[in-house]
Symmetry: C2
Subunit: 388 residues, 2 copies
């Protein structure tokens, strides 16, 4: 609701000097398009909120997280037309903690947990470290892009009655695919028929392109007792390091199952800076986010145009959401580890597709959340190597 403007410029030297992982993990001459973090200056209200804490010098006990929860409710209503019940929100430190807490609450050791490969690779740590069985529901690639085939989900669940959880990345990382309302309803119906819970990581849900309608899994028919959503302001506002997230339930019963599953203090507590920053983002970040989305839309179009005209061997289905492009380089002469090769020959760091599991071979994930100038330099460096 504020008038804070989004600034689409990026100063590489300043980013590198700031000391973050994205700009310092590789040699200084390598341009970073790997980890899912934007390059932009933060929302001014986030800086103001943290400045307010340093000005008072009070970093002690601050009490309950009512303001963060209210800010979450407001944002989800305004941005997603999604009515969140504030009494059904749990505040945690990060989205993957929420995912792990929910998966372990809804399953026992030995139970099966579905992941939709290729997928955000930290998902592959969830089941093994909790002694659950990882089961794959692979995305299918049609002419129009990546698809969720619910009939395949149904036959997987039919053939493995030990599956207790479906873990979704929605919007889907790395493909950027979102489910339409019919598909969501069908997934929830199949889950209900098999008495399986759905854990939906929706951290990219703000970042949807024009003409595409993203709805939370919790808005699907019958989702109330079936779905938990783990999300945060970390991706839109680039505040992953501040560690604040929410786990949104649809019913008192689901919330109770979550809180009863874990000893009361095992999950730790959110910190006052992350809590204030997230509150500021969700209270005041609307216009800034509109600016971010307009810029990301332009970067996505630029990428589509240049890949289409200058690297026609690259197979690319533009994302419905996220600032990530999932590029199939199978027809290019880059070997089995194209990202490794590209950091050498093009001096651009991208995500290695094989890290995202089955379906990721000879793919790369490219982060286009940067300035127009940086994106053009990244593409200028990459495109000569994306040929036959």
């Amino acid at each position: 609701m504020s008038s804070s403007r989004f600034d689409p410029s990026v100063d590489p030297a300043a980013r590198r000097a700031a000391g973050g992982l994205k700009w310092n993990h590789y040699d200084p001459d390598v341009l970073p398009a790997w980890v899912a973090e934007t390059d932009f200056a933060p929302l001014p209200e986030i800086v103001d909120a943290i400045q307010g804490l340093t000005d008072t010098g009070l970093f002690g006990y601050t009490g309950r997280e009512d303001r963060l929860v209210e800010a979450c409710v407001g944002w989800m209503k305004r941005r997603h037309d999604w009515t969140v019940d504030p009494t059904l929100v749990l505040v945690l430190t990060d989205v993957m903690q929420g995912v792990e807490a929910a998966v372990t609450a809804f399953s026992e050791p030995g139970d099966g947990v579905i992941v939709t490969t290729p997928v955000y690779f930290p998902f592959f740590k969830v089941s093994p470290s909790a002694r659950r069985r990882q089961v794959e529901w692979p995305l299918s690639r049609g002419d129009g892009g990546w698809e969720f085939h619910v009939d395949e989900l149904e036959s997987i669940l039919d053939s493995d009655p030990g599956i207790r959880v479906i873990l979704l990345s929605h919007p889907h990382n790395p493909t950027g695919r979102i489910m339409d309302t019919e598909t969501m309803d069908a997934v929830v119906a199949v889950a209900a028929a098999h008495e399986v819970m759905i854990v939906s990581d929706e951290i990219h849900s703000d970042l949807v392109y024009p003409g595409i309608d993203h709805r939370s899994l919790l808005t699907a028919a019958g989702a109330r007792d079936r779905v938990v959503v783990s999300t945060s302001a970390a991706k839109t506002f680039a505040i992953s390091g501040l560690r604040a997230s929410v786990l949104v339930c649809g019913s008192r019963d689901v919330k109770h199952r979550l809180t009863a599953a874990h000893p009361r203090m095992l999950l730790g507590h959110v910190n006052c800076v992350g809590s204030r920053a997230t509150s500021a983002a969700w209270e005041s970040g609307d216009e800034w986010t509109d600016g971010l989305l307009a810029h990301l839309g332009a970067m996505r179009s630029r990428l589509i145009d240049r890949i289409g005209s200058e690297a026609p061997l690259v197979r690319f289905h533009p994302p419905d959401a996220t600032y990530l492009a999932w590029l199939d380089l199978g027809a290019c002469d880059l070997g089995d580890a194209p990202a490794d090769r590209l950091v050498e020959v093009a001096r651009v760091a991208v995500g290695e597709g094989s890290m995202f599991g089955n379906g990721g071979d000879k793919h790369i994930r490219l982060n286009f959340a940067t300035s127009a100038e940086m994106l053009d330099e990244i593409l200028d460096r990459l495109i000569p190597h994306l040929q036959g």
Copy 2:
């Protein structure tokens, strides 16, 4: 190692305006001497560290916590002559998360966990929410103060072979008592003989008074495979809200038991502000902490003098450590809930002794980590009511 000076002054209006829990939980005319948080301005290097983050505007991924761990190793060596192995330190969000993680790693549902009553009341949530049995090893009060009787511990362990963990508050909250080296060695020996692990919350360990030697439980004979220490900079530097703590192990095996017990991402992640602030505190807070300790020593002496001369019915064994005074008001005419009564009649908020469990009836816990002026006003208000 810095030259930053500790400032012993306190501005009540500014503290109240800053919005923290301590100064805002009660009516504005009530002086807060309850929750264990100091009233002083923060270490300047902590403010600088946070300011550095807001200046760069980088709140994203920051990578591993090597600097925090190194800062911990340096502080423990310089301040406590305690050699911590950096490869055996786990970084978490808060000390109680570390306590819960360790207790649940070293026991199964139904097992017994010892607490030393009266004790820091959040300890009473550890076992019930993890479906462990809480067993009490009460402190004994002798003429010289509160005592740990190891022979009593031994007979408790003899009579209940299902006990798997001893949970210690060391220095002990609320009594301020610390164990001497002989007692520590004996506790560890008894624990070893009964194959019981010790989880030691040492968050108050910096705050020790002259002539008293506090040693970490992990320095006791045989402690290496027997003891885990949960601690942080939160108490000394009043940064509880920033949420960063360490869990220090003595051996690779103990660390492995801790990490294997919990799914990898269930415990969440420390945030970049808390990590930087704690690093700054442990790297640069020596002289400031010396100043804090000198001031707290003076406040402790003032309290001893005034209670002794003006409220002789109060039974009080001065603390070896902590800025907490544990006062027995059994001889005063204040009823069964003296803290409730004192907030009404004296307009001072103190901790209600009964919250600390058995041994706490008709006691109060008074926080004396404030300015000389504030402490005198607190005592001026309290003392007329601490009579027969």
